[in-house]
């Protein structure tokens, strides 16, 4: 193969809808910057956070988080056969985080001051931690994505340089990060020394390198992700606006567990859907084994979620007739549906069952996070918060922008590996047929 594989691009009805949504969203964003947040949202002094924090940030970051779990699986836990899935996951994560940062700029009242976060450190603030983690993790994702770009440009020398420099950048970044978070020289030196020790071991050949990705990059991704995925939950520990079904000191753990649980589900979901949209064959031989981890992850989450209610003695809250209670039942029902599907091997082996289970898992996470950020909020003095339609359209527009960017990226970058040999995939023929007859127009 002379060129790494990319996916062609042409205007389909789906792309057209995305374009319209993106334009509508951008228009409303312009309106918001002209007339203030009150002009497009139903936020108030009692409900200063709403739909955007829930969807764009809590849900968005979890759904884009698949990259770190997969990268860990492949490069730390030796699951090399899943390598074909990592690049799409890293690309999704990178685009997801860029989008998240963009969405955050729309939500912030004074986004032009964001650079203060770099120099004005409040290391007891969970928000400060999330901001730094996201910033550094986006940088790590950028470094992880670079090889795809360099391959496309066929810059061999730059690729070599990247191999040597990326680990050093990671050590530097995590050292600064640790200092900002802990304000403790001891911890900073400790973390720097640990990372430097591993790198020395690898440079001297005592410990094997990874052929594709510097291990330190993977480690940094996992460390930063573990921190901010759970800190999104920590954010809400300080507020007393949440009802008892949603507020728990376990929020950081729940947020971390659900992020890990949704990672394989999201990879499966994207794998199947993007295969359909791009007329590729889904990587079923890889996606099915990934699904085998889900019963355990789902069960673990469910145990903590329900066990916590029992432990705090608020189970009776689940019997009340309020929207927040129904929302809780919806979340639990979705987890149970996903659990039932993934626990039956027959269903998982087929693409459709796999897709259904993955969808239920993703919806369960969305229900929990919107529960914490939107539905579970209860400020008696201020009535209820219901998102305004422009809030929803702006979020939809931002997601559409992201999907367009993803589509563009796979058109120009070698993200997907060459298709598997025929016969290794479960149900290949239709997809192969589509792929052969689609004759995509190449725009690049």
């Amino acid at each position: 193969m002379s060129r790494p594989p990319t996916q062609g691009l042409r205007l389909t009805p789906g792309l057209a809808i995305l374009l319209v949504l993106a334009v509508a969203g951008l228009g409303l964003i312009a309106y918001r910057f002209a007339f203030g947040l009150g002009a497009v949202t139903n936020l108030s002094d009692g409900y200063p956070w709403g739909f955007w924090i829930g969807m764009d940030i809590l849900v968005g970051i979890a759904l884009a988080g698949g990259g770190f779990v997969l990268a860990g699986l492949v490069h730390i836990f030796g699951g090399h056969r899943f390598h074909a899935l990592t690049r799409p996951a890293i690309l999704t994560a990178f685009l997801g985080y860029l989008l998240f940062i963009f969405a955050l700029m729309v939500d912030l009242g004074r986004p032009w001051n964001i650079w203060w976060a770099l120099i004005s450190w409040n290391h007891v603030s969970p928000m400060f931690e999330v901001a730094w983690c996201v910033m550094f993790y986006t940088f790590v994702l950028f470094l992880e994505l670079l090889p795809a770009v360099l391959e496309r440009l066929q810059w061999e020398r730059a690729h070599q340089l990247w191999r040597r420099v990326a680990p050093l950048l990671v050590i530097a970044a995590l050292t600064v990060f640790t200092f900002a978070m802990t304000d403790s020289l001891g911890w900073t030196v400790a973390v720097a020394a640990i990372l430097a020790a591993w790198e020395t071991l690898m440079r001297t050949g005592v410990m094997a390198r990874d052929r594709q990705m510097p291990i330190l990059l993977i480690m940094a991704g996992i460390m930063l992700s573990t921190l901010h995925q759970s800190s999104l939950g920590t954010l809400f520990l300080i507020t007393d606006k949440l009802g008892p079904l949603w507020y728990t000191p376990m929020l950081p753990l729940l947020f971390f567990l659900s992020a890990v649980m949704v990672a394989p589900a999201m990879v499966i979901f994207e794998g199947l859907v993007s295969a359909r949209v791009l007329h590729r064959r889904p990587e079923l031989p890889l996606l099915v084994p990934l699904g085998r981890a889900l019963p355990f992850l789902l069960a673990g989450y469910l145990i903590v979620r329900v066990g916590d209610l029992l432990f705090r003695g608020v189970v009776l809250e689940t019997m009340r007739q309020t929207l927040a209670t129904w929302w809780w039942w919806l979340e639990i029902a979705l987890v149970l549906v996903a659990l039932a599907i993934f626990a039956s091997p027959d269903l998982v082996r087929r693409g459709r069952g796999l897709l259904l289970g993955a969808t239920a898992t993703v919806l369960a996470l969305i229900t929990h996070r919107t529960g914490v950020a939107i539905v579970g909020l209860d400020v008696p003095e201020y009535g209820r918060y219901v998102p305004a339609w422009p809030e929803v359209v702006i979020t939809a527009g931002i997601v559409a922008l992201g999907l367009l960017a993803f589509r563009l990226a796979v058109a120009f970058l070698p993200i997907y590996e060459p298709e598997l040999e025929p016969g290794t995939a479960g149900r290949a023929p239709r997809a192969v047929h589509d792929h052969l007859t689609a004759t995509p127009v190449r725009v690049g």
Binding site: N113, N122, F128, A131, L185, G205, M223
Partner: protein
């Protein structure tokens, strides 16, 4: 493995071991440091004793709202007296707005409809404020003198302070392109010049007093002791949310006067503290564990494959 390569292997391993040992040692130092540097809540309460504070005695308040007018004038909030005195938006913290830093709430006493009782809402200037501990960029901070003030040059407008404040105090300009976080700053500038806060100076019935927290707290307890039937036996702000620099006395239970009830008696920062304290352990622990896992798993796979690992890509 030849003897030579084994020796080299050991040497390098030794060097790495020294590195890891160093890491362990510095982690131990860090732990010791943390134990010393931990400013306990008690220390903060002690510090607050000498800080500026305010006392509102609801039993002395006649509801004239001269304090609101004075605050409006002194802080140039731009409302006319008519706007201030006409209509009552709400009888609790909801009455606060970007142009309303303080508000006197009005409550009919159920047992005796001909009498009224008043409450006062404004920033409580908490000893360990939820808003300050949540602000990512220190735009809000607790001054050494006691007032909690906002610095607009840093604020991102993330509104986390509004999510965090248990008294529903910080306000945001929802209809502005350049929104500010607004709230009472205990007249930080005026007090810096040795003058009392504008609202205190304006109060005709001495319902408002300014002084150090220790003095005002003692005064509040003295009043309850000397007139036990006049007051509910509770100083609102002595312990609420870990204690505040603004103290309240009243004749009626505070929740009847628009005050938030069921507040915890410890500071809100305590709720995020345990989770935040795990950060260095997560970083250090994962740093060691992930590298070790990867080493072990990779070597096992190599041994199983019977080959020698590739040391160069």
């Amino acid at each position: 493995m030849s003897a030579l390569s084994r020796r080299r292997f050991l040497e390098r391993g030794g060097r790495a071991a020294v590195g890891l040992a160093g890491a362990g040692a510095s982690a131990a130092v860090a732990l010791a440091e943390d134990a010393v540097a931990d400013t306990g809540a008690d220390r903060l309460v002690e510090q607050a004793a000498a800080q500026w504070a305010m006392l509102f005695d609801s039993t002395l308040c006649v509801g004239c709202r001269a304090c609101e007018l004075a605050c409006n004038t002194d802080n140039e909030l731009g409302r006319t007296p008519d706007e201030i005195f006409e209509g009552r938006p709400a009888e609790d913290a909801r009455a606060l707005a970007p142009s309303v830093f303080t508000y006197v709430t009005f409550h009919q006493v159920e047992a005796d409809p001909s009498t009224a009782a008043f409450g006062k809402v404004q920033c409580m200037h908490c000893i360990e404020p939820a808003c300050v501990s949540s602000c990512p960029v220190l735009a809000l901070h607790k001054t050494a003198e006691g007032p909690v003030v906002w610095d607009g040059t840093r604020c991102l407008g993330c509104r986390y302070c509004m999510m965090a404040c248990p008294f529903l105090v910080p306000r945001f300009d929802w209809d502005s392109r350049n929104p500010r976080i607004t709230k009472c700053d205990m007249c930080f500038d005026l007090q810096g010049q040795g003058k009392p806060p504008a609202c205190v100076a304006a109060c005709p019935s001495k319902a408002l007093r300014a002084g150090t927290r220790a003095d005002l707290l003692a005064e509040a307890h003295r009043r309850i002791e000397t007139r036990p039937r006049r007051y509910v036996h509770h100083v609102y702000g002595e312990h609420e949310a870990g204690g505040t620099n603004f103290l309240h006395l009243a004749a009626r239970p505070f929740d009847e006067l628009g005050y938030r009830r069921n507040l915890p008696m410890r500071s809100y920062r305590e709720y995020t503290k345990p989770a935040m304290a795990t950060i260095p352990y997560v970083l250090g622990g994962l740093g060691v564990a992930l590298g070790a896992l990867r080493w072990i798993i990779n070597r096992r796979a190599d041994v199983a494959a019977g080959g020698h690992e590739e040391s160069q890509p």
